[in-house]
């Protein structure tokens, strides 16, 4: 094989595995320089934090590939915890602990799903960009969440409820199992179903997809609805972890979720991206945040570094796109 061909294959695989390589380098660096990074306890801790983010990010990946965006997921997550707390607070004595949690959870997931449907329908009927609708929801849902709790944390869960967010199963944090299930489901959905194919087509060129008889609005709406439900799921786990429904919980989470998705190589122009990439993006953000805390980097510097990383990741993707 000629050297030119070799370097081409090298460049191609670097392009494909760039994110994996960078994550690996980061982990090695942190093991070497961040005190306490390489312990099992810390590792599980990172995974637990990352799970809450990842569950939503997989949905967000689908939304962004379909050419849309959802800024309301943090608020939806906050509201979901509050709803479960609210139902427990009001009805646990009447209907019992398990039914109350169950009803609260189902209601929260349904509401999350419906916010996605709402956004999708507004897009379809009035052609309002999802950026605008979800920006409005972002504010409105926060308000609703605080109305539900009356503005104070609502620690009304039954004692066993903490398990879902803070407990371990076979030594592994419970949210990690949820993350794994959502990852597999979304990966499968995007890769092996006609719905997944439609998402790529719709995001790549909505008009061509429409003329090929694909229901563009339905596809986008479903992607948004799934993400809304996943945001609610993540919010319930978070509420369980902190032990109460808090209206202001998960503030700013949308930015982390979108960052992870973009770091993972999903294009904001739509049509391109992978669920696997998003998993890497989420792990990357989790490791960076954890590592910097362990290394006693000030909180303000952490923000600066994260900003730099987001921009760096996008630049890297663009450059890799060019060398072929």
């Amino acid at each position: 094989m000629s050297t030119a061909a070799m370097s081409r294959i090298g460049a191609t695989s670097l392009k494909i595995y760039a994110m994996e390589v960078i994550l690996l380098i980061l982990v090695v660096f942190l093991i070497a320089f961040a005190p306490g990074f390489a312990t099992l306890g810390n590792f599980l801790n990172v995974l637990r934090t990352v799970s809450m983010l990842g569950i939503i990010a997989f949905g967000m990946t689908a939304v962004i590939i379909s050419g849309e965006i959802d800024l309301s997921i943090g608020a939806t997550a906050g509201l979901a915890g509050c709803i479960v707390a609210f139902v427990c607070d009001g009805y646990m004595d009447m209907i019992g602990e398990v039914p109350a949690v169950l009803i609260g959870t189902i209601a929260a997931l349904a509401i999350g799903f419906c916010t996605g449907v709402f956004t999708g329908k507004i897009r379809q009927w009035f052609n309002v960009p999802t950026f605008i609708t979800t920006l409005a929801l972002f504010t409105a849902i926060r308000g609703i969440a605080n109305l539900v709790t009356g503005g104070f944390p609502m620690p009304s869960f039954p004692s066993w409820f903490y398990f879902f967010g803070a407990g371990n199963l076979f030594g592994v944090p419970f949210p990690v199992y949820v993350l794994a299930v959502v990852f597999v489901a979304m990966h499968f959905l995007m890769k092996y179903t006609s719905f997944g194919r439609a998402i790529y087509a719709v995001g790549g060129n909505a008009e061509a997809a429409r003329l090929s008889g694909i229901d563009v609005s339905l596809t986008k709406t479903l992607a948004l609805a799934i993400t809304g439900a996943l945001a609610a799921l993540s919010g319930i786990l978070l509420a369980s972890q902190v032990g109460s429904g808090i209206g202001t919980m998960a503030t700013g989470m949308e930015l982390d979720v979108i960052s992870a998705t973009i770091i993972g190589g999903t294009s904001l122009f739509g049509g391109k991206g992978r669920i696997w990439g998003t998993l890497l993006g989420v792990l990357f953000l989790g490791c960076i945040a954890n590592g910097m805390t362990l290394m006693n980097v000030s909180e303000y510097w952490q923000y600066v570094v994260r900003g730099g990383i987001i921009l760096g990741a996008v630049l890297l993707n663009q450059i890799l796109e060019r060398i072929r």
Binding site: A201, G204, N205, S212, G213, G271
Partner: protein
């Protein structure tokens, strides 16, 4: 210095494993019109893009005006007096015609110490340029409101506005109808008289003899030969392009059973563009739509397919009255539509050829929503084989295919849905003679097995050859219905131009 001389010296361009141009050497004499011929994917556009500074040669040298040049971008090419009209339209759809023509060099004027765009001058200049080309359009109109043909004309006007010494035209006529082509040729002759060197790519053989001085033929990226047009015949050029193949002839015309239409349209109305259009399409029939640009051919098809809403009229498809067609519901009923503008709406450019071939049949390659690889693969392989699509790797983005091969993907995408009725809107646009023939053959074969199609083409010869019956549209109305065996090209042309038989 030799103004307008172009020379390629041992130029090679590779894309990954694909050799788009291999060791090409040729000198194009200044002041003449050089046709560049070759089948789809033979490297014509690649050659032109290197001269235009859009891509750089992998190996070899370009010489322009007697000096070696190295273009790092289109700007360098402009600076050397080279202007290009690319195969795929590249106007900004949301800007006006005038802005597009002067994009990046809008005329300025000074007002109260500041510099602002001089709209008055911009629009006046643009109008004058267009009038020069015999084009009567409002320079303030947005490009997205223009038909593909009009956009192509604007693109050419834009190229002219640079007053180039070398003009590269990559299939400029593929979206134009006869009168626009005639206008374009007048313009090209005027430019030749001024000493401009031109490289002209086309798949329309008859144009060569009308406009070109020499013809250079490429096959699979390699130089095959060059000939003076006065010594050439179309047979000798086809021979050079394909290395001796026999062109299929149209099968004998069958008598179509016209007792029960599969599609009947009555009094179709779409404000401003379609007026009171009625026609029937029968099983196994190929119905041709003839007409000038803007005569409403595409608009009728889009309304029936449900791509655009219509304001009145009745559509009966396969015995079923359809109130509000949508592409999705019409596809389910067995109607397919290949749009005329493949780049914008026919393909999803970021996806692979594989995905684009399955776009309309996403539902068919899946069982209960799950994609079945064993079902899917034949969908891809069959079309690549039947349409002889030249795809190095079906998993590469469809944007890496040559123009003609992209067109075939659009058609393959729809044939995969096994439709009962197909609307082919300019299917032969940008396709080489052989591929064109293959597509026509597929239309005839499928017609024999019962597929009905409506065929739109700006090339009237094609409509006469392909269709069993022809409807002529003029300003959104049906003005005549003719049978190809009883009509000459001149007669059909006259009806299209004048709007009456």
């Amino acid at each position: 210095m030799v103004r307008g001389a172009i020379e390629f010296r041992d130029v090679t361009k590779v894309y990954g494993p694909t050799v788009a141009i291999g060791r090409f050497s040729h000198a194009f004499e200044p002041g003449r019109i050089h046709a560049l011929m070759g089948k789809n994917g033979s490297g014509k556009s690649t050659l032109v893009k290197m001269l235009a500074g859009a891509i750089e040669p992998t190996l070899g040298e370009l010489w322009v005006n007697g000096a070696r040049v190295r273009f790092e971008g289109p700007r360098d090419a402009y600076a050397a007096g080279i202007v290009t009209v690319h195969q795929e339209l590249s106007l900004v759809r949301s800007l006006s015609i005038g802005e597009n023509i002067y994009l990046g060099r809008l005329p300025k004027k000074h007002v109260m110490g500041g510099t602002v765009v001089d709209w008055q001058r911009l629009n006046d200049d643009a109008r004058a340029l267009m009038a020069d080309m015999g084009l009567d359009l409002d320079p303030r109109a947005l490009v997205e409101t223009l038909s593909v043909g009009q956009q192509q004309a604007v693109e050419i006007v834009k190229a002219m506005s640079f007053a180039p010494s070398i003009l590269l035209l990559d299939e400029p006529t593929s979206a134009l109808a006869a009168p626009e082509v005639a206008q374009l040729f007048n313009l090209i002759r005027r430019l030749r008289a001024r000493g401009v060197t031109m490289i002209y790519i086309t798949h329309r053989m008859n144009e060569l003899f009308e406009i070109a001085d020499t013809c250079v033929v490429l096959r699979d990226g390699h130089f095959v030969g060059a000939t003076e047009m006065k010594d050439a015949t179309s047979a000798s050029i086809v021979e050079m392009m394909f290395g001796g193949v026999s062109m299929a002839k149209r099968p004998a015309r069958r008598s179509v059973d016209r007792s029960r239409p599969i599609l009947s349209v009555r009094n179709l109305q779409r404000d401003d563009v379609v007026h009171d259009v009625s026609f029937d399409l029968y099983r196994g029939e190929v119905l041709g739509f003839a007409g000038l640009l803007g005569s409403g051919r595409t608009e009728v098809l889009r309304a029936v397919f449900g791509a655009d809403p219509h304001d009145g009229g009745a559509i009966v498809f396969d015995g079923e009255t359809i109130e509000r067609p949508t592409p999705k519901s019409m596809k389910k009923r067995g109607l397919g539509y290949t749009p005329e503008n493949r780049k914008e709406v026919g393909l999803v450019q970021v996806l692979s050829s594989h995905d684009n071939l399955c776009l309309a049949s996403i539902g068919r390659i899946a069982r209960h929503g799950l994609i079945d690889r064993r079902l899917e693969q034949p969908f891809v392989d069959r079309q690549i084989r039947d349409l002889s699509i030249r795809v190095p790797d079906p998993m590469d983005p469809v944007s890496s295919l040559s123009g003609g091969n992209q067109q075939k993907i659009v058609i393959g995408n729809w044939l995969n849905t096994e439709p009962k009725v197909m609307f082919f809107d300019e299917p032969s646009r940008g396709i080489d003679v052989q591929a064109k023939q293959q597509i026509f053959e597929i239309m005839w074969q499928k017609a024999e097995r019962g597929l009905s199609s409506i065929f739109v083409s700006s090339e009237l010869e094609e409509v006469l050859e392909v269709a069993d019956r022809i409807i002529v549209l003029y300003h959104g109305r049906v003005v005549a219905e003719v049978l190809p065996e009883e009509t000459t090209l001149a007669e059909l042309y006259k009806i299209c131009m004048e709007g009456s038989p």
